[in-house]
């Protein structure tokens, strides 16, 4: 019995490690390709060089893409957290008539294929006569990201004790005071995680940006265009940079959350 449990444990640890290695393998391959000298990729790499990183970093076109990607991701973060915060209260906190239906409706965009959603939005914008640009891409991202962020914040809301709000009301706080002094601080970790999710999902999104950003290009959109036609080692270089940027954002965001939780514990 004991022996069998040990074997299961070893198998699961090994399996998880193996799957993780496979998951990060292509990302590592991209990094290798970006660091090899010469126009075409060949393995084993004959000579390493940082030339493609330099060229990518100094390219004006890529600087513009990066700024667009940032503008989209930041706008999406702010708007989606503001909308999803109330969405999460409706999802998990209040008992109201349409709640069950709301809970299910809000999941539908997550369960919808993104390329088709992007095309549907493109068609809708054109029917309304709206010119597509990075602003319409923000709107498209919101349709998909707000439901995700709502779920992320909801998980925090479930662990929230509504009687604390009531107590504050009874002690004479105004609605705004209760919100600022009780509700928001208690839900803050969920809001922060929601912000991280919103930023990172928008940063890496491709299918929605492809159809709804119009003439504006984001990093994933540019990478795809170059993959299909006209490969240059700048593709893996920019891909790797974008991945490292996301990892940095996740690491910083996670560290802040961790420190905040630790301070709350004390």
């Amino acid at each position: 019995m004991e022996q069998a449990a040990k074997r299961t444990r070893a198998f699961i640890a090994l399996w998880t490690t193996l799957v993780l290695v496979v998951i990060y393998l292509p990302i590592a391959c991209g990094a290798l390709a970006s660091l090899s000298k010469g126009r075409y990729f060949g393995f084993p790499i004959k000579q390493f060089s940082g030339e493609w990183w330099e060229k990518t970093a100094s390219s004006i076109e890529i600087g513009m893409l990066t700024r667009t990607s940032f503008a989209v991701a930041l706008t999406v973060t702010v708007l989606s957290v503001a909308i999803a915060f109330f969405g999460a209260l409706a999802f998990a906190r209040y008992d109201w008539k349409g709640r069950r239906l709301f809970q299910k409706l809000i999941l539908l965009p997550i369960f919808f294929p993104q390329p088709v959603l992007g095309l549907a939005l493109l068609l809708w914008f054109s029917a309304l006569g709206i010119q597509t640009s990075w602003l319409t891409a923000v709107f498209a991202h919101l349709v998909w990201i707000v439901p995700v962020v709502t779920l992320v914040i909801s998980i925090q809301v479930y662990g929230f004790d509504p009687t604390l709000e009531e107590a504050a009301f009874d002690l004479g706080c105004s609605r705004w005071q209760v919100f600022r002094e009780v509700t928001l601080p208690l839900l803050w970790p969920g809001v922060w995680s929601g912000m991280l999710f919103a930023f990172l999902l928008s940063w890496g999104n491709f299918p929605l940006s492809l159809y709804t950003a119009g003439a504006d290009s984001t990093i994933p959109k540019w990478l795809y265009a170059k993959m299909v036609a006209g490969y240059t080692p700048m593709v893996p270089a920019l891909g790797t940079m974008s991945t490292l940027g996301a990892a940095l954002a996740l690491g910083l965001g996670g560290a802040i959350l961790y420190l905040y939780r630790r301070r709350q514990m004390r």
């Binding site: 399996w15 409706a90 109201w96 349709v143 890496g204 999104n205």
Partner: protein, 285 residues
């Protein structure tokens, strides 16, 4: 737990409801309207015809093949992912302890890297003179297998991309199994397999079901894998829709295809959602 504040709940739901009305329901309505327009035209609302649908059900049209491929890929992805993710989800709940948050972060992170970048990494791995082929040749062997741009490669790419969407709902589901219940079953003399089949699996089912639905739906609408890893070997349904909208500029036809796909996904999703209690699944933490 929740307070009886009907007005506050409705008000809090309003911003999301407006967003989804304008950004989800309305575009779907636009697609439905377009699917009845004259083929190859942009005369939405001014023409009504069933030609687009009739064309799709014409036996001479090979679009059903795309549906079949997409359905096959989606089912295979679900089955493979259920097998791959189950041991990991089990480990996250029972074995990894304080490591489990690190393991979850490692599994979440790839979601934030554009799927193009990750799939392209596989191209670099499998391509001629790529990482695999080059390493094998350097070791004096034959060179790598020619997997790139074949259907099995597309399937592998889908399994790879959608792993987190199976893993996390499954982990939530397994967290719903109370340990004492498993112990009780064992104490009463149930074998390992019996405990799993009659206690663990049914209790974890809501989470597993969500994972399966999510990966199936994402799989049937997937297109990046077939384009990046599959070359032109297989046209999946979402690719057909894209072609209709872009190269052939036949928006009504693309809309009709999208409507059929949406109806299928919608019916399936609502059927599964009817059986779920989301409060229980997300609230237990």
């Amino acid at each position: 737990m929740a307070l009886p504040l009907p007005k506050a709940g409705t008000r809090a739901a309003l911003p999301v409801a407006i967003l989804l009305l304008l950004g989800f329901i309305a575009p779907l309505a636009a697609i439905i309207a377009y699917s009845f327009a004259t083929p190859r035209s942009f005369d939405v609302f001014s023409s009504f015809t069933l030609e687009n649908y009739a064309g799709l059900f014409d036996p001479g049209n090979t679009v059903w093949l795309s549906f079949l491929w997409s359905g096959f890929f989606a089912v295979a992805t679900v089955v493979l992912l259920a097998i791959i993710a189950y041991p990991i989800a089990y480990g996250m709940n029972r074995l990894f302890g304080r490591w489990s948050s690190l393991v979850s972060i490692l599994f979440v992170f790839p979601l934030f890297v554009s799927e193009n970048v990750r799939l392209y990494g596989w191209v670099l791995f499998f391509i001629k003179n790529g990482v695999l082929d080059g390493s094998l040749k350097a070791a004096g062997l034959e060179g790598g297998p020619d997997l790139l741009f074949t259907p099995p490669m597309i399937l592998a790419g889908m399994v790879y991309t959608y792993l987190p969407f199976m893993l996390f709902p499954m982990t939530l589901g397994l967290a719903m199994v109370p340990r004492d219940l498993v112990d009780a079953a064992r104490d009463l003399g149930a074998g390992r397999l019996q405990t799993w089949r009659e206690v663990e699996l049914p209790l974890a089912m809501p989470g597993i079901l969500i994972g399966m639905l999510l990966t199936f739906v994402l799989g049937i609408g997937a297109v990046a894998e077939a384009k990046v890893l599959g070359g032109q070997s297989v046209i999946v349904i979402a690719h057909d829709i894209e072609i209709a909208f872009t190269y052939s500029q036949n928006w009504p036809l693309g809309s009709a295809l999208a409507v059929i796909l949406t109806l299928f996904i919608g019916a399936l999703t609502l059927a599964v959602f009817g059986k779920l209690d989301l409060d229980r699944l997300l609230g237990r933490r």
